[in-house]
C-alpha cells in the first residue's frame, strides 16, 4: 500500500465512478478516460511496461476518441430531469460488495507466498506472439482487416457513378 498505489488507485476509482455518476455524456467519457489512464499508470507501477503503454495508446488514444466521436455525432442536448432514485440499486450493490469482500478476506488468510513476478519485456511478448501464438495473431489480423473493409463499405457513397466527364 505505497502512496503511489493509493494515489493511482484513487484516480482510477474516482474516474470510473464519475463516469457512472455524471450527467453530461462528454463529461462521462472524459472521466472514463481519466480512470483508464489511472489503470494504465497502475500497470506501469507494477512494472508491466508493455501492458501499461498499450493500454494508454489503445484505450485513451483510440477507444476514447471513438467514443467522443460517437457522442459528438449523435448527441442531442436532452432535458435535465432528475431521475427518481429507488433504494434497490444501492442495496444490491452493497450486498454484492459484502459477498466479494467476505470471499477475498476469507481466502487471503490461507494465502501462499507470492510467486516471483514474471518479467514480460517487449522482447518476450514479441517472441511469444511470433512463435507460440502466431495463429491467433494472424486470425486477429484477418478479423481486423475484415472489420476495416466493412467500415469502408458502410461509409462509402452509394451513388458513386454520378460524375460525368465534361463534354
Amino acid at each position: 500500500m505505497t502512496p503511489a498505489f493509493l494515489i493511482l488507485a484513487a484516480i482510477a476509482v474516482a474516474g470510473t465512478a464519475a463516469a457512472m455518476a455524471l450527467r453530461n455524456p462528454i463529461h462521462c467519457i472524459l472521466a472514463l478516460t481519466a480512470g483508464l489512464t489511472g489503470i494504465a499508470a497502475l500497470y506501469l507501477q507494477l512494472g508491466a511496461q508493455f501492458a501499461g503503454l498499450t493500454q494508454l495508446m489503445v484505450y485513451v488514444g483510440a477507444v476514447a476518441i471513438l467514443a467522443v466521436f460517437a457522442i459528438m455525432m449523435t448527441h442531442r442536448p436532452s432535458s435535465t430531469q432528475r431521475e427518481t432514485y429507488s433504494l434497490t440499486g444501492p442495496a444490491i450493490a452493497a450486498a454484492l460488495f459484502a459477498v466479494l469482500a467476505w470471499a477475498i478476506c476469507h481466502t487471503t488468510t490461507s494465502a501462499q507466498p507470492l510467486p516471483p513476478e514474471p518479467s514480460a519485456t517487449v522482447q518476450q511478448i514479441g517472441d511469444a506472439l511470433m512463435h507460440h501464438f502466431v495463429l491467433p495473431l494472424e486470425i486477429i489480423g484477418l478479423l481486423l482487416t475484415a472489420a476495416l473493409i466493412g467500415a469502408v463499405v458502410i461509409a462509402m457513397d452509394p451513388t458513386k457513378d454520378q460524375s460525368k466527364e465534361p463534354q
Binding site: 453530461n24 462528454i26 463529461h27 472524459l30 478516460t33 511496461q49 508493455f50 503503454l53 498499450t54 494508454l56 495508446m57 485513451v60 488514444g61 483510440a62 476514447a64 476518441i65 467522443v68 466521436f69 459528438m72 519485456t121 517487449v122 522482447q123 454520378q162 460524375s163 460525368k164 466527364e165 465534361p166 463534354q167
Partner: protein, 419 residues
C-alpha cells in the same frame, strides 16, 4: 569518451544531490531532472516564434519584426506579456470545466513526451524499455485535448475544426508509428537510449546514422511529413488556418489559454522532431568522428534547430492542403510507402552488408514510389460539380457554351432559371 563538458549537467546534478538528505533523494532527483526540460524547451519555443517570424519574413522578401529590441529580439517577451494581460473571454454557453482543462491537458501532454528523448549522453530522463511506445502513447493524449477544446467552446467553427483536426491527427499517427517501426526493426529494441547508442558508432569518420540508408531516407521523409501533420503545421494546418476557419478549435480561446495552445503545438513539434533525431539522425552523436569534442547536448539542439528551420522553410513554401487532399495523401500515399519501408528494412537486414543491398533496397524503394505517384496523379481528374437534391440531367439551363452546371438550379422549382 566522457569529457567533463559533455557530462556537465549529469555531474552538476550528482553534485547537488549529494547535499540532499537520503530520504528525499528520489524526489529531488526527479525534480532536478525535470526542471531543465521545463526551462529549456519553453525557451526554445520563445526563440522559435521569433525565428519563424523573421525567417518567414525573409522568405517573403520583407523584414520580420525588428522594432522590439535589436533585431526584434525582445519580441517573444512582448508576445508573452501581451498574452498574459489579455482578457480571458469564455463563451456564455461553454462548458467551463472542460474549457479550462483543455489547454492544461495539451500543455501537460506535450511535456510528457520529452521524458524518453536522449538529449545527451546519459541524459535521458526515463530510460524505459519501451521508450518509443511511451512516446506515441503520450502523443495520443493531445488528440483528446483537441477534442475537448473544440467541443467545449459550443461553437460551430470550433467543433468543425476539432473534427477535422482529430481526423487529421489519427490519420497521420499510423504512418508516424509505422515509419518508426522500421527503425525499431533495425535496432531490435524499443528503448530510445539503445537506438541512439547503436547509431553513435563510426566506421572511419562516418557515423552509422539510420538516415544514411535507403530505408532511412524514406523513413525520415515519411516521419517528417507525418510529424508536420501531427502538430497541425503548414501545409497541414487546415484545422487552424487563419484564412480557413479562423483558428478552428481554439477560436474561442484568448489570452493565456491561447498561448498555452500555441505552446502545446510547438512543443509537440519539438518532441516529434526530437524523436526523428533519435530514430534517424543519431540523437546526440556527432556527424563526423573527429567532432565529438563538441558536447552531445549541443549536437542534439543543433540538429533540432536544423529541423525547425526545415519546418519554417516548408511553411513558407507550400500552400495549404485541403482536407480531402490531406486525407488522401495520408491513406493513399504515405501509408503504403510506410508499409513498403518496413518490407525494405526486412530485406536490408537479411542481405549481407555491401553495395548490393544498397542497390537492391534503393530500387525496391524508387520503383514503387514512382509508380504510386504517377498512378495517383493519373486517376485524379477534375469532376463536374454535382449537388444533392437536384434531379440530373438538367436539360434547359445548360447552354452550349458552358460545359458544366455552374449554378445549381433551385430544386423543385417549376421553371428553370436562366444562367
Amino acid at each position: 569518451m566522457t569529457l567533463p563538458l559533455d557530462q556537465l549537467f549529469v555531474l552538476t546534478k550528482q553534485h547537488l544531490l549529494a547535499h540532499i538528505p537520503t530520504p528525499a533523494q528520489p524526489i529531488a532527483s526527479a525534480i532536478l531532472s525535470v526542471t531543465p526540460i521545463l526551462i529549456a524547451f519553453p525557451l526554445l519555443f520563445a526563440i522559435t516564434t521569433l525565428l519563424e517570424r523573421k525567417g518567414l519574413g525573409r522568405i517573403q522578401n520583407r523584414y520580420g519584426p525588428n522594432r522590439t529590441g535589436p533585431l526584434g529580439l525582445w519580441q517573444p517577451i512582448a508576445d508573452g506579456i501581451k498574452s498574459l494581460t489579455k482578457e480571458d473571454i469564455v463563451p456564455h454557453t461553454a462548458d467551463h470545466a472542460v474549457h479550462l482543462l483543455a489547454p492544461i491537458l495539451i500543455a501537460a501532454a506535450s511535456f510528457l513526451g520529452y521524458a524518453v528523448l536522449p538529449i545527451g549522453r546519459n541524459m535521458t530522463l526515463l530510460n524505459l524499455n519501451a521508450g518509443v511506445l511511451y512516446f506515441f502513447a503520450v502523443g495520443s493524449l493531445v488528440e483528446l485535448a483537441v477534442f475537448m477544446a473544440g467541443w467545449s467552446s459550443r461553437s460551430k467553427y470550433s467543433l468543425l475544426g476539432a473534427m477535422r483536426a482529430i481526423a487529421q491527427m489519427i490519420s497521420y499517427e499510423v504512418p508516424l508509428v509505422l515509419a518508426s517501426v522500421s527503425v525499431i526493426m533495425q535496432s531490435g529494441s524499443l528503448s530510445t537510449v539503445s537506438i541512439v547508442e547503436q547509431q553513435a558508432t563510426y566506421t572511419g569518420i562516418f557515423p552509422h546514422w539510420n538516415i544514411f540508408t535507403p530505408w532511412g531516407i524514406l523513413g525520415f521523409a515519411l516521419f517528417m511529413v507525418a510529424a508536420c501533420a501531427e502538430s497541425n503545421r503548414s501545409p497541414f494546418d487546415l484545422p487552424e488556418g487563419e484564412s480557413e476557419i479562423i483558428a478552428g478549435y481554439y477560436i474561442e480561446y484568448s489570452g493565456f489559454k491561447f498561448a498555452l495552445f500555441f505552446l502545446g503545438e510547438y512543443l509537440g513539434m519539438f518532441a516529434t522532431s526530437g524523436m526523428a533525431i533519435t530514430l534517424f539522425l543519431g540523437g546526440w552523436s556527432a556527424p563526423l568522428s573527429f567532432l565529438t569534442f563538441i558536447p552531445s547536448y549541443l549536437w542534439f539542439f543543433l540538429k533540432l534547430l536544423v529541423l525547425i528551420a526545415g519546418f519554417i522553410w516548408v511553411r513558407g513554401t507550400l500552400p495549404r492542403l485541403r482536407m480531402d487532399q490531406l486525407m488522401s495523401l495520408a491513406w493513399q500515399f504515405i501509408l503504403p510507402l510506410a508499409i513498403l519501408n518496413i518490407f525494405v528494412v526486412g530485406v536490408w537486414r537479411f542481405l549481407p552488408s555491401g553495395i548490393l543491398r544498397w542497390l537492391i533496397c534503393t530500387i525496391l524503394i524508387i520503383i514503387p514510389f514512382t509508380f504510386l505517384s504517377r498512378t495517383l496523379k493519373k486517376i485524379k481528374k477534375f469532376q463536374t460539380r454535382t449537388y444533392a437534391f437536384v434531379e440530373y440531367p438538367i436539360t434547359s439551363t445548360a447552354s452550349p457554351l458552358c460545359n458544366t452546371v455552374l449554378t445549381a438550379p433551385i430544386a423543385n422549382s417549376p421553371e428553370p432559371q436562366q444562367p
